[in-house]
Amino acid sequence: MKMEMLFSGIGGQGVMALGESICAAAIKAGYEVTFVPFYGSEKRGGRTMCNIVIADQMESPIVAKPSIMLIMDERSLEDYQDTIAKDGTLIINTNLVGIEPSCECAKIVKLPFYDMAEQVGTVKSANMVAMGAVAQLLPMIKYEDLAGEVEAYFSKKPKLIPANLEALRIGYETEF
């Protein structure tokens, strides 16, 4: 098994935290995992993108054809959509993406992560909703492990845990 993923957005959206949580949960499940971050040169509001590979054995950390692509803003879609695998799934945050994807892939999922997050608290949890959605495509990761990572991530701000867990849950349970 070897699964390549690419998550991309803009700084502040929590794309990296989302990616790291998925990696940590996959490691718990016993997989070899690599997480490679790419940042734009801007310190705030710049590009944040990560390559994640989950596999049975140690593999190249460089993602060529992601089978899961999470796109949180429009520029990311323009830059990366053409690299998606033919049998891949593209997940788009419709709140920040106004254009139609032009790539060929098996499935395109459009979800308003900001709106969904707002329903359970704050738009800041949009990345958690997105993580829940991505997790639906990762049967090898246990939901409880992912929830555990969310709790660990907010361990210093425990007040934020319930809303973020809720955001994760609605993303995970949204049907697509």
Binding site: K2, E20, C23, A24, I27, E32, V33, T34, F35, V36, P37, S41, M58, E59, S60, P61, I62, V63, A64, K65
Partner: protein, 353 residues
Amino acid sequence: MEKRVFMEGNEAMAEAAIRAGCKLFFGYPITPATEVLEYYARAMAERPEEEIMVVQAETELAAFSMVAGAAASGNRAMTATSGPGFSLGQESMSFMSAAEIPAVVVDSMRPGPGDGEILPAQGDYFQAVKGGGHGDYNTLVLAPYSIQEMCDLIQEAFVLAEKYCNPVVMLVDSTLSKMREAVALPGYTEVPDPDSKPNALRGCGKEESHHIITSGDGAVQWGEYNDMLQEKFKKMRENEVRYESYEVEDADIVMVAYGSMARVCQSAMRMAREKGIKAGMIRPISLWPFPKEAIAAVGDKKILVCELSAGQMVEDVQLSVKDRDNVYFHGKLGGATPTADDILSKIEEVIGA
């Protein structure tokens, strides 16, 4: 074995170095090596019982000189930088090798020339392996390809530096520095007493004094001193070759790659095998000394050298084999790493050639 943790390369390597008893760190911020300095600075602040000492130097020139001073006192010391800083550090690399100072220097490569980019690259191979400083000297150059290996090798690097009284270079790149993966952090190691090292500066009292000098006293004396150093480098060449080979025996084509590029080639090798192409790989772990014999033993198979450079290690591969026409090269410049698919296409092209 310790539980595996999900850690960034730079931070894991810094932790492994601390556990190897390297309590003295001198550095200057530079992407993509800065996290080593930051990790050490946090450790100094948060773990007072470990007596860690970090100085953020004014330049890499100074940072390397501080490392030289601290290591000359018999204590384990290191710095971590990237190409532009490693260039400034070359005077110290030459000096430390001449003065027989054991120290560990990390160069996390990014693409040059000039300021370049902050992405992954392997363009500092010549500078690290051939000696970017002045005079005739060599340093061991170790090139890990995973975060686990970064941790294991940096611990070994201190032992090797002390064994040969010579600086050791850890040559990594932006991908390895910045990526995260699961790593079983190595434990705390035994650290020799600084005063037990033969030439450590300690305050001699009435005993024989210890001198760190690199200036000669006439052609004969300095010639003899150089011969002594060369004798030592010869021993290093004989004893410290490290590499791994993968499915070379039945291979029709053997890739040679190191560092993060080797990770990509390893995946490409598996993809090639799935397609029925008999591909293998040799991964040099020590770039100096270079695993010449292992590469020579490949015989008349085709060799494909892959690097994130315009072709630097490929020269050492060519020097290792009988037939240079059998050696093919694939490189990429500027910071983009070829994907496994790119390498697979290159394999198919070379096999067909």
